[in-house]
């Protein structure tokens, strides 16, 4: 079982939680008392998916890998998970029941269900069988995201990589999730410099874009969703140990604040935590996305030390 690291501060579980599918509504579910912010986020993300989501799910951060695997395992979901398989199979792949870590491009074959090509991926995007969890450069109060550049698009201060698949996912996918491991003002801006994704701008409000809307944004501080009335970013919940004020200070726009107050982000159940710690992520890669250098080193040490790794995953090379 994974050791807690310094980066993962422990607090008592808050009682009030959000999530449509909160498992704690069942009388038999036990809430966890002891968990990290990363684990809390993994659980909150996982609960976005249910057993009827017959789709492929693609993430880019370690967080999202763990959240996806948890959703697949916990809720009996029909989710197929997308990973890079380029070193072994020369393409992408859909995986089942992965246990982390594995080298990018190289998931162990026992997790792989089928190699998939770029053509397969876009078939799923355009056909409404694809869902992304990805990290943008900027997000604005309308849920627009920017992945392309910073500054004036005609003479940018810096060109990143272009909009890539964001314009496609945000108009065709099932729904879009964004993750920001380091919540700062320069990420959450009043208006993005370039709209790479279609948030809730005039086009979507006019009904021209039926698919791919942003559902939630998960950060190291909080969770945003979209206010049904204004179609602007709403502070849905704050992560454990985080205050609303702290979020506002680090956000470049004024999010909608629910009239009834901002609850705490959903609390993990004991079963969720067991699955994360003992089954899916014994090595603790969920702490790699925004931990301190020391915390990251602790994770890597654990992965790279053969003896410890064999304790986590007996038999795996």
């Amino acid at each position: 079982m994974a050791k807690e690291t310094k980066a993962a501060t422990k607090t008592k579980a808050a009682v009030k939680t959000t999530s449509k599918k909160s498992p704690e509504k069942s009388s038999t579910v036990e809430l966890a008392g002891d968990y990290t912010v990363e684990e809390q986020l993994c659980c909150a993300m996982a609960r976005e998916f249910g057993p009827n989501d017959n789709i492929a799910l693609s993430g880019v951060l370690n967080w999202t890998f763990v959240a996806e695997a948890l959703a697949q395992k916990m809720y009996g979901a029909q989710l197929a998970l997308h990973h890079d398989y380029s070193l072994v199979g020369g393409a992408g792949c859909l995986t089942e029941n992965p246990r982390f870590p594995f080298q990018v491009g190289n998931p162990p074959p026992e997790y792989v269900s089928a190699p998939i090509t770029s053509e397969d991926i876009f078939a799923m995007v355009l056909g409404g069988k694809w869902c992304i969890m990805m990290q943008p450069v900027q997000v604005d109060k309308y849920g627009n995201c920017n992945l392309a550049l910073v500054g004036n698009p005609e003479k940018p201060e810096r060109y990143f990589v272009g909009s890539r698949g964001l314009p496609d996912n945000s108009t065709n996918a099932v729904r879009c999730y964004f993750t920001v491991p380091n919540h700062q003002k320069r990420v959450f801006v009043e208006d993005v410099d370039f709209r790479s994704s279609a948030g809730w701008g005039p086009e979507r409000k006019a009904g021209d874009i039926p698919y791919g809307a942003v559902a939630k944004v998960f950060t190291n501080l909080c969770v945003f969703d979209i206010d049904p009335k204004t179609k602007q970013m709403r502070l849905a919940s704050v992560n454990k140990g985080v205050t609303v004020d702290q979020v506002l200070k680090n956000t470049g726009f004024k999010p909608i604040i629910p009239a009834g107050g901002v609850p705490e982000t959903a609390v993990p159940t004991k079963e969720e935590l067991r699955l994360i710690r003992e089954v899916i992520d014994g090595a603790g890669i969920n702490r790699l996305d925004h931990g301190t250098p020391e915390a990251k080193k602790a994770v890597f040490d654990q992965i790279n030390d053969g003896t410890k790794f064999q304790q986590i995953y007996p038999g795996r090379k």
Binding site: S86, E157, G162, S163, D168, N172
Partner: protein, 265 residues
């Protein structure tokens, strides 16, 4: 059947100033970088370069060959590199550009491959891609009246791709993800395939299911072992040459250093 084997020089000679060139691969994956280096060294100019771009476009920008770039992204995906020359050219307004999404550029190729003038898609709606590309129109779809993007066909004069093996007759295998190479070869008037190895037709057959390139699409094939380095091609070499890529990045913005780089690699 005609033998379609060519030398690198013969391929380069078929490209003209002002041509639109579409390049296969993705980021640093299966890019015909040996051919690209020869274009960088050549006298060619005013090229329009299309692709899901990485070092291929960046090197041609560094060499001053690019009038206009048409891209789904520009990233040294699968390596530690970064598009330093493209970044610099964009910052300083040195090149024309049409920056699209992945599916928008693919849709443009799909239309060209089927010789229809546009491809209907939702990709791009509600984004600034339409704002900065006013030539890309939206339209009301027949039957439903829905607003869709009419992605214009993106046809090229020349397509360049890199494959595992090719036969002299113009068949070629792609053992990993074919990416969009099967589409772009249909979207270009002339198609040149560099391959790790040229083998007799019957040897190609041991990988029947990997033959993704059919001879009617192909103008010429050229054998270039390591033709995708410092990028990768599955399964021949799957780790990028990060040292070479770093050497490139250090040289790209300095003409003298870049010349030395090209001479060395």
């Amino acid at each position: 059947m005609k033998n379609k084997e060519m030398t690198v020089a013969q391929v380069i000679k078929q490209i003209k100033n002002g041509d639109t060139i579409v390049i296969g691969g993705w980021g640093m994956v299966r890019k015909p970088l040996a051919l690209i280096r020869e274009i960088a060294k050549s006298d060619l100019k005013d090229l329009t370069v299309m692709g899901l771009a990485g070092m291929d476009l960046d090197m041609l920008v560094a060499a001053g060959k690019v009038k206009k770039a048409i891209t789904g992204f520009v990233a040294f995906e699968g390596s530690e590199g970064r598009a330093v020359a493209y970044d610099e050219a964009r910052k300083n307004g040195k090149i024309e550009y049409m920056e699209l999404s992945e599916n928008m550029i693919i849709s443009g190729w799909k239309a060209a491959a089927e010789r229809i003038p546009f491809y209907p898609t939702r990709s791009g709606l509600g984004t600034d891609i339409l704002k900065y590309n006013p030539d890309i129109k939206t339209f009301k779809a027949p039957y439903t009246g829905e607003k869709l993007v009419a992605m214009p066909a993106l046809r090229a004069d020349v397509a360049l791709i890199h494959c595992n093996e090719a036969s002299p007759e113009g068949y070629a295998t792609i053992k990993g993800d074919k990416l969009w190479d099967h589409i772009i070869i249909r979207a270009a008037d002339k198609v040149f395939v560099s391959a790790e190895k040229i083998v007799p037709r019957h040897e190609l057959q041991k990988d029947l299911k990997d033959i993704k390139v059919l001879t009617p699409w192909v103008t010429g094939v050229v054998e270039i072992p390591n033709g995708a380095r410092p990028g990768t091609i599955f399964p021949d070499y799957t780790q990028p040459g990060n040292r070479t890529i770093k050497a490139y990045m250090d040289a790209a913005l300095d003409p003298a250093k870049f010349k030395a780089y090209l001479e060395k690699y």
